[in-house]
């Protein structure tokens, strides 16, 4: 479903702060796979999502979605088949518009008659039904401005916006990290149910190693703009958080050692 080939991205090229954010990264996802991504801060996880969504263009490499080459496609064109939820609950919704208006906007992916009134009664009925499945009592607040909702409620609305028209690819970027633990669990549960129900091909970034292993079908660790390891199936079910932590620590040390060696060789 998703095929990232040799993705390479360098920021601020030719300046003192030149930074290789994606370093010849390769990743392939089959249809219906649910991949969790872990990795230290600055590893390039969000940058990978930005590349997939078209926030910037790659310096090298190709991105294919469902067999179609989207490497040079405009951001809003790609959004037709990609849904993305950010860590920041403010990012995914328009605060001064109501829940139903936000959903109606997201629904343009499937249905768009520019000069008909929006949201239509039929749409509102659909939205109510879908949001009721979350069990957060949001179906009675369809005319509430999203800015008045709590972070967890906003993330739930964003998640529904991203899946109201099932996307070919769902990207979740630490979407529960800004929430309190109980709310985070609730939003994660909704996420899991939605992905299951619509068989969504999903990439989820998380800093929570336990959820990275517990949720989804495959786990990938990123470091320095590339994929360090990629586990699935039995190998993954045999892996504990401790195993991951060890691996993680080892790799960080290794990276530090490499840096030190680099410094010494320069000196």
């Amino acid at each position: 479903m998703l095929d990232i080939q040799n993705a390479f991205k360098i920021f601020e090229k030719g300046t003192a702060i030149e930074h290789t954010a994606l370093n010849h990264l390769n990743l392939h996802l089959d249809k219906g796979e649910f991949v969790t991504i872990i990795g230290s801060n600055g590893a390039g996880k969000s940058t990978l999502f930005n590349a997939i969504c078209g926030t910037f263009l790659l310096n090298e490499g190709r991105i294919l979605l469902d067999g179609q080459d989207i490497t040079g496609q405009k951001e809003h064109r790609r959004a037709l088949s990609i849904g993305r939820v950010f860590q920041d609950p403010m990012k995914g919704t328009a605060p001064n518009m109501t829940i139903e208006e936000n959903l109606s906007l997201a629904y343009s992916r499937a249905y768009s008659r520019p000069l008909s009134f929006a949201p239509s009664r039929k749409q509102i009925a659909l939205f109510r039904e879908r949001i009721a499945e979350f069990g957060m009592n949001l179906e009675d607040r369809m005319k509430t401005k999203v800015g008045r909702l709590s972070g967890g409620q906003r993330q739930a609305v964003t998640l529904l916006m991203c899946t109201i028209v099932p996307p070919k690819l769902l990207l979740l970027d630490e979407h529960t990290a800004a929430l309190d633990p109980a709310t985070a669990d609730k939003v994660m549960e909704i996420t899991r149910r939605t992905v299951d129900q619509y068989h969504l091909t999903t990439l989820m970034i998380t800093h929570n190693m336990a959820s990275a292993l517990a949720i989804g079908t495959r786990t990938v660790m990123m470091e320095a703009g590339a994929i360090l390891f990629d586990i699935s199936g039995e190998e993954r079910s045999g892996t504990t958080v401790d195993d991951l932590l060890h691996l993680y620590a080892d790799l960080r040390h290794q990276a530090l050692d490499n840096d030190r060696m680099l410094l010494q060789s320069k000196a």
């Binding site: 403010m90 328009a94 936000n102 109606s104 906007l105 997201a106 343009s108």
Partner: protein, 297 residues
Amino acid sequence: MKLLIGSLQLGLLYGILALGIYISFRILSIPDLTTEGSFAFGLSVSAAITAAGHPVLAIFAAMAAGALAGSVTGLLQTRFGIHPILSGIITMSGLYSINLAVLGGSPNLSLVRAATLFKLFPFMSKNDAMTVLPIAAALLFLTLVILFFHTHVGMCIRAVGDNEDMVRASSINVNACKVLSFSVSNALVALSGALIAQYQGYADISSSTGILVVGLASVIIGEAMFGRRSVTIGFISAVAGSLIYRYIIALATRYSPLPAYMLKLVSAVIVALALAIPALRQNMKEARQKEGGKAHA
């Protein structure tokens, strides 16, 4: 009474300007300096075509001219990445020459002998038409913009002003939305200029100087009365604000010792004060907190 009727007529005609300003200033949150140019563009296109004997065509042509000016600004901002304020200034400056050209090289044109819209109705005197037409036009366009901003495209435009990234992430072309809303906004501004030219019976390009501040003042006065709630209320309050603004100006010209040429300064001060109120409130609050802190220490 005459003063009231006069400000009603002008207030409604400039109310259409306020609708346009509300779109750029409040819905998109981008103050659009094209306004000064597109108001004069509407004014001069309307005057030139009316003088040639087509007062109705003049109105439509003026709106098209305004829409064109707005889309130029929109394209400069989106396609060419020029700063929004600067884009407006560029279009406005360019329009200055175009407007003079439209009026045949002179900065003003008299329509005294031309058949304006206001003389067009056999069953209405010109005086009556000068009240009836502004009411009809303001109501018509108020209704149209309110309806438009409840359609799907209108909703997308509102969302662009609220959270651009989210709109893009919903697969909607943000740039197209912006260009469209600048067109609509400036079409209304030009329409206001077009009606004013025919209403006054002459077009004077210099009358567009400071017109953006006039529109902003109307929007702000309207919000002071109705509060900031929904677009529907926003549009209604913009027109209401324009009516009140005209009434204040009429009173001021009549009774204040200030000469008429001081009016723009007065408007500028009103707008600056109104826009400064949130910051002033904040300052006062902080000052009070500091004092409170001292008292406790």
